[in-house]
Symmetry: C2
C-alpha cells in the first residue's frame, strides 16, 4: 500500500525536533517521506521509485502523527487473569493465584489470550511489545496473524522453558517474520538456580545476546538475593556474566546507586512498570536517579493481571507523577522525557532501531492522536497534552509495518473482536470459571 497522510501535525521524536505541520508518505512497510510538504517534487525527482500515486490519502485534520508507543514489558497471555485476583500482595498473588492458573493454560490458550491483548495494545497506540510469556511460538502465531510487532522475550526459570528453547527461539526468530524477533530472558533471579543461570550465561556468550529479566521488583526479592549470594540481584546477575551484552531489567524499584552504575555501564535498560508497582504495592522506582545515572529508561505495562490494563497513557502519567512525588519536586521528569521513554528508549531497549522515530527509511510504526477531543484543547503544548491529558480515547489510528490495524475505533486484524472474546470466554470457563 502507498499511503499519504497529509494535513498533520508531526512529532518525529528525532532529537530536539519541534512539532511541525506536514505530511508522511508510506510505501509498503517503510516511511519514504516526512516533511512539511514543500519539497515533495524534489523528493520525487531525486528518487524515481517515488511518485504521487496513492492507494489511500488520509486528511489528518491537524491531528498528531508520532511514533507508536513501545510496551517493553508485558505478559499478553495474562489477559485471562484480568480482575481475577486483585488486591493481593505480590508473592501471594503470584504463588497462590497466578502460578496455579498458568499451570492449566495451553499454548493454544495463550495464542488466543495474546490476541485479546493485541486488540488492546492497538487501542492504546502501542506498536511494539516485549512479550515475556510461557509459549514463544504461540505468541508468535498470534502476532503474525494480527500484524503486531513483537519481541518475544524468554522467561526461563526452574519450572518453565529451557536454555535449549531459548537457543531454538534465537535461531528461529532471526528469520521467521519481519514483525518478530526474540531476546532470551530469565523470569527472575529468585526463580532460577545458579546452575541454570550458568547455562544461560553460556548461551549469552555464544550468541552475544542481551538478556531480559524481572529485576529488583520488591524489597523481599532483593533481601533474599542478598541472603543467598551476598549481592543485589543486579550485581549477582552481572557477576554471572548475564549482562555482558546488555539487556533489560523489568521494574528496578529497589536498585542501589551501584546497581544503577552497573546498568548504565552494561547497557541494561531499566523498564519501569509504575501501574503494576502501585497495584501490587511494590513501590516507586527511582526514575530520576536512574536517568541521572545514564540508564536507558523504557516503559512497560506489565501483564493485565497486575495492572490491569494495557494503557501507555496511564503509564506515562504515572512515570512523571510518581517521580514528582518521590522527589518532592514538581519539576522532576518532564513530559518530553516521558515521551522519549515511551518511544525512542523503548525501541532501543527492544533492539528495534528501525521503529524509534519518524524518518525517511524507517519502518512505518506510527499513531495518530486525535487533537479534536476536548482533553487535548487548547493546543498550548501538544506534547504535554499527550503525556498529562492523553487517553486511549485519543488514539485515532494505529499503524504497524505500514498497515493500519486500528482506525476510528475499528480493527483491521483479520478477525472480529467479538470472535476473539468468545474464544477467551471458553478458556475462562474452563480454567477460572
Amino acid at each position: 500500500m502507498k499511503i499519504r497522510l497529509y494535513n498533520a501535525r508531526i512529532l518525529t521524536m528525532q532529537q530536539d525536533e519541534e512539532i511541525f505541520h506536514g505530511e508522511v508518505w508510506i510505501y509498503g512497510e517503510r516511511i519514504v517521506y516526512v516533511g512539511d510538504g514543500t519539497d515533495t517534487e524534489e523528493v520525487c525527482n531525486r528518487n524515481n521509485t517515488i511518485g504521487k500515486i496513492w492507494d489511500r490519502e488520509i486528511d489528518c485534520q491537524g491531528n498528531l502523527l508520532m511514533p507508536g508507543f513501545k510496551d517493553v514489558h508485558t505478559h499478553s497471555g495474562m489477559t485471562l487473569l484480568r480482575s481475577y485476583a486483585d488486591d493481593l500482595p505480590l508473592h501471594d498473588w503470584l504463588n497462590k493465584q497466578i502460578f496455579p492458573v498458568e499451570a492449566k493454560m495451553t499454548g493454544e490458550d495463550i495464542r488466543i489470550l495474546t490476541k485479546l491483548a493485541i486488540l488492546e495494545y492497538l487501542t492504546s497506540g502501542i506498536t511494539a511489545i516485549g512479550d515475556m510469556y510461557l509459549t514463544p511460538h504461540t505468541i508468535a502465531e498470534a502476532c503474525k496473524e494480527m500484524g503486531m510487532r513483537c519481541v518475544i522475550i524468554g522467561t526461563l526459570n526452574n519450572y518453565v522453558q529451557s536454555v535449549k528453547l531459548q537457543e531454538e527461539c534465537i535461531l528461529r526468530y532471526r528469520e521467521d517474520d519481519p514483525l518478530l524477533s526474540f531476546i532470551p530472558g530469565i523470569h527472575a533471579e529468585y526463580t532460577c538456580s545458579k546452575e541454570l543461570l550458568k547455562d544461560m550465561a553460556e548461551l549469552v556468550h555464544t550468541y552475544k545476546t542481551p538478556v531480559f529479566t524481572h529485576l529488583s521488583e520488591t524489597e523481599k526479592e532483593v533481601r533474599e538475593c542478598q541472603e543467598r549470594y551476598g549481592m543485589t540481584p543486579v550485581a549477582f546477575l552481572e557477576q554471572m556474566g548475564l549482562f555482558d551484552y546488555g539487556g533489560a531489567g523489568h521494574h528496578c524499584v529497589y536498585v542501589t546507586k551501584e546497581d544503577m552504575q552497573i546498568l548504565a555501564r552494561k547497557g541494561v535498560s531499566a523498564v519501569t512498570n509504575p501501574a503494576s508497582n502501585l497495584k501490587l504495592a511494590s513501590g516507586v522506582a527511582p526514575i530520576t536517579e536512574l536517568w541521572k545515572a545514564g540508564v536507558n529508561i523504557a516503559i512497560g505495562t506489565d501483564g493485565p493481571a497486575s495492572n490491569n490494563c494495557l494503557d501507555m497513557f496511564r503509564e506515562m502519567f504515572l512515570v512523571t507523577g510518581l517521580a514528582k512525588m518521590r522527589e518532592h519536586d514538581a519539576a522532576a521528569v518532564k513530559a518530553g522525557e516521558v515521551l522519549q521513554m515511551a518511544t525512542v528508549n523503548g525501541a532501543k531497549a527492544l533492539q528495534l532501531a528501525d521503529v524509534d522515530v519518524l524518518a525517511e527509511g524507517k519502518l512505518a510504526d506510527m499513531i495518530m492522536i486525535d487533537l479534536h477531543q476536548p482533553n487535548m484543547q487548547p493546543l498550548q503544548n501538544i506534547a504535554n497534552n499527550v503525556v498529562y491529558s492523553g487517553s486511549k480515547q485519543n488514539v485515532k489510528m494505529t499503524m504497524i509495518h505500514g498497515k493500519i490495524l486500528y482506525e476510528n475505533g475499528i480493527f483491521s486484524v483479520g478477525e472480529e473482536p467479538e470472535a476473539i472474546y468468545a474464544q477467551v470466554y471458553k478458556i475462562q470457563k474452563r480454567i477460572t470459571g
Copy 2:
C-alpha cells in the same frame, strides 16, 4: 422524553447489590423503573402514568449502566491553563503562573472555558461537578446552556468574591435551575484573613450551610497555619465554626488523626485529588486512615491546570494504587470502595441525594460503560474492570437529568465542540498566546 434502556448489565450502587441483567426506564428527568424486566407489567398496572410507549428504546448490548461519576472538586475554567505551566512546585505555580493569568480572565471567558471542560466531563462519564471557580454566574450559564449538573462552590478569599456574593448565590441558586445549586466556599485558610473567616462563619450559621475549602493540601500550608494560629487548618476552621454544618475539604493530604476525627464528627467530606497531588508533588492522601476514621471520602479531578485532564478513570486507579503503595498493602482500598467514592460518596458530599444510585424515583444521571472493548474483557469481575482497566474510551453514553448529552462519541449539547474550541482559542491568544 421516555427512554427505555434494555439488555443492560446494571450496577445500581445500592448497598451490596450485585450487577444484574435488566433494564432502566426514564420518564423526563427521572428513573421510573430499574429491574430485571420480569415485573414490568405489574409496575405499569400499579402506576397508570407508566406505560410502554417510548420516544426511544436503546439496546444496551450487554453493556453496563451505572450512576454517573461525581467530580467533587474541580475548577472548570482552568482549561485555559492546561499544559500552560507544567512541572512547577505548587506555590510558585499558583502565585507566579496561575494567579497572574486568572487576573486577566473575564466572566465571559470563564463561561466559554467551562464549556470546554463540560465536553470533557461528558467523555469521562462525569454527570455532576463541584465547580469552585471565580465567577459563579457565568459557570451557571455554561452549565445551563449545555445541560451539566453543577454544584457551584464559592471560592472566597482576600482578593476575590465576597461574603455578600456567597449569600446572593445561596439565594439565587436555590431556585434558578434544577441542574444547579450553590455551596459557599473559601479558597483556603491561607488566602483568607481571620476577619473574613469570621464573616463567613456568620453566614454559615445564618443559612445553616456546609462550606467547601482547599484543606491541608501541602506541608507548607499546614506548617504556616500552625505558626499563625497554633492549630492545623482543620482544627482552626472548625474552631471558627465554619464546619458546624459540614462541608468538604479538598485534598486532605496532610491531616492528623485529630483532624480526621474532626472531619468525621462534623460531617466534612474529604475530597481526594490524587493526580493533582502527584503532578504538583504535594504528596499522597491517607485514604485508608480517613476511611477507617469514618470520613466520607469523595473524588475530584482538581482543575485542568494541575492535573491536566478531567478523567475519573485515572483518579479512580490512583486512589487505590496510591493507597496500596502508601500502606505497603496490595489489599488496601478495594475496587468496590473506589466506585462508592466516585458515585455515592460524591453525591453525598455535593448534597445531591437524588443522583447517588440508580433507583426508581431518582434523577436520571447515568452512564453506559462499553464492555465490548478489549480492556473490559474477559468479564470476570466487571466492577474491578471499571476501576482497574477503565478509560474514557469505555464511556459509550452519558445522561444527565434524563437527557443523553454524549453517545458513541457524539455530543448533544446545543453547540459543536469545534465552535467551543474556536472560542477558547481566541481567549488563549488574548491572554496566554
